[in-house]
Structures are given as C-alpha cells and as structure tokens.
C-alpha cells in the first residue's frame, strides 16, 4: 500500500478514542502489524519535527492526536470548559488504586486513613476507576482497578508505563 501513512493518519484523525494497531490491521486487511507500527512511528516523528499545534501520541494501547502543551488557555476558551481537575483526595485514592490494583476499598482506606466511599464513587463516575469483580472471601468485597480512560487521561501507554513509586520519591527530592 503506497499511501499507507496517509490512510493510517486519516483513521487516527477521525477517531476520538485511541486507535489500536489491531483495529487498523483489520481495516487495512493486507498490511502487517509491523508495517502499521512503523508507519505510526514515522507519523509520530513527523508531528514531533513539525512541532505545531497537534501531536500524535501513543496512549492506552492505541494512537491518538492531541494538542500540544501550553495551548490550554485557548482550547478551553473555545470549549467553554474548566480544565479537568481532580482533588488531592481523589488523586491519592486514584494513586492507591493504580498501584495496588486489584484493590479493595478497605485497603485504600487503610492506606489513606479516611473513608473513601464518596471519592471512589466519583472516580467510578468519571470512568477512571472500575469494578473488577468481587474477591472470593467472606462478604465478597468489591475489587477495584483503573480503566482504559485512566491510561488515556494520564497519557500512559499501559499500566507498566506508570512511573514507579520510587521514581516519584526521587522527583520529590
């Protein structure tokens, strides 16, 4: 396929959620995963070099166009929105879920030392946290984990892409 890069660019452009290589492969039929990945790499580099208003990023197991940083003010003005904001309590709760998943509510509360019911509900509604199932112990407590949207929101390719807890410590100095 001689216009492979253009086709892939178009597919990513029209998608709102990150597009996976598997989806592109299914649409293009005769193109290998390797060719698709390498075209995506080329595209990412081109946007990087151009260094304009949008960039191609690899997030949540797929590829997505995102605005460049430091353009927030203008974009928000267009959308008439407030920036996404999570309270420190929500961030702490999300951090425990992200690093301890699959995790029970009682475990989060033990770490944070406070009741987290309301905050957890908020994170579920924002679709950053999901119910993974129930633990097979008496009372069958619900276990929580993070969602694809969590990866997308924090610009992570996968959970393994999360900085380690030690890395955060070092940044903190």
């Amino acid at each position: 396929m001689d216009n492979l890069k253009a086709v892939i660019e178009a597919l990513v452009f029209v998608s709102d959620a990150p597009v996976t290589v598997a989806v592109i492969e299914r649409i293009l039929e005769d193109v290998s995963k390797k060719e698709i990945s390498s075209a995506l790499d080329d595209l990412m580099r081109e946007y990087e070099v151009r260094s304009g208003g949008i960039f191609l990023k690899e997030v949540a197991g797929g590829y997505q166009f995102r605005t460049g940083e430091a353009l927030t003010t203008w974009v928000l003005r267009l959308k008439g929105q407030k920036p996404m904001d999570l309270s420190p309590a929500a961030m702490e709760t999300l951090a425990v879920v992200a690093y301890r998943q699959p995790v029970m509510k009682s475990e989060i509360e033990r770490v944070r030392g406070v009741d987290v019911s309301g905050i957890l509900r908020g994170l579920l509604e924002k679709n950053l946290v999901r119910i993974m199932g129930r633990k097979n112990v008496p009372g069958r407590p619900i276990i929580y984990g993070t969602t694809r949207k969590f990866l997308e929101t924090f610009g992570l390719k996968a959970l393994s892409d999360l900085p380690t807890l030690r890395e955060f410590k070092e940044l903190e100095g």
């Binding site: 649409i27 927030t72 920036p83 425990v96 770490v111 944070r112 030392g113 406070v114 997308e152």
Partner: protein, 239 residues
Amino acid sequence: MTDRAYEIKLDIFEGPLDLLLYLIRKNEVDIYDIPIALITKQYMEYINVMKSLNLDLAGEYLVLAATLTHIKSRMLLPPSEDEEEEEAVDPREELVRQLLEYKTFKEAALGLGRMTILGRDVFSRDHAFEEEIEGNGRPLMEIGIFELVEAFRRISIDTGRHDIMEIDIEKISLSDRINDIVDELEKRGELTFADLLGEMDSRRRLIYTFLAVLELMKLRIIKAYQAVPYGTIRIRLAG
C-alpha cells in the same frame, strides 16, 4: 500558634495521617523516631481547634488520637516481661509503617498530578460523535453492572419521566419481563439498552425492565457490550 493559623491549615489535610505528617515536617523531627509526647500534644491541639470551630470532625481523626495516646502511654511504661524476652517492640513501629506508606502514596498522587493530563494540559478530539462512528471497526467490549446502572441513570434522566401521581393499573412481574426480554432477544438477536427501556411508559415498568436485565446478567443468560464508554449498550444472549 494562633487559632487563626489552625483555621487556615484545617481544610488542607486529607485525613489524620496527613495532619500527622504535617506535624512531623513542621517540627523537623525524624519520622523513624517520632517524639510521641510532643506530636500527640500538637495533634490534640488541632483536634480541639477543629472541635471548637464546630467543624465536621471525621471519626478517623479521633481514632488516630486514641492510637497516639495509647502509644504515648506505652512509651512511658517499662517494657513488660513478655516484651523483654522477645526484644521489646517499639510501640511506634506500626504507626511509622502506616505513615511511610501513606507518604509514598501522597507523593505518588502529586506525581500523577504533574503528568500531562488529558482535558487539563492537552486535548484530544471531542467525544461527541461517538454514536456515529462507534460501529466503525471498534470491537465491542463486555461491560458490567456498573456501566448498566450508569446508563440507566442517564436514560431515566434523559427521558424526563415524571413519577408524580402515577396510577399503577398494570400488574407487572419480574419473571414476565425476564421472559419477554429473552423472547425478544431470540427473535432479534440483539437489542440496545435504549430499545429495551425506551418504550417504557411507566416508571414502574422501566424499573422492572432494568431489574430484569440485571437479573439476566447475573444469571449469565445475557451479556452486555459497548464499543466506547457511554456508547450504545448492546444486549445479546450469552453463550
């Protein structure tokens, strides 16, 4: 420290452990060797200010206050004979472990906050056209009860059904609704969640239908799928 200073600080604590960490930092003491009498005294002062301000004092603050007092009293007592035999455990040990763990996650939370966040620092295309493009090759993912409940909440708000003065003429049973849904699925293969609930003219029917769907999911007779979050929910027979 004046009361005013307390007042400013109060709402920035994320809980009793956070307050304790703050006191340790403020006094510049070693977290592994907390001067428990001093910290307990200051902690109590904060608690009393919170109480005097009639702030809604979460029970957790009082639990930690009790723990601190208990540790303090144990530090004052000579180690019991039992403890001497098994190399006296520092009464602060458990608290220190808890504090360090909390501190780790507090730092992780700050770290997450410094990352490039979608919707705050960068933006992607709007999610508004989800419905039109969702069939476009995106695989359907099985969804759980929570997504269904969320969708139900949206549908029952969307349709703006009023439940005032509803006269319940119709007798509906849950098993009838369950059978209806299974029949309909056998006939049509797939139903959207909105199909199922959209036709409902009474709130009671709406709720029974929803309960029937939940029951069928629990029994693993049907499965629900979605291509994208908040997208159309499709119901199919399992197996």
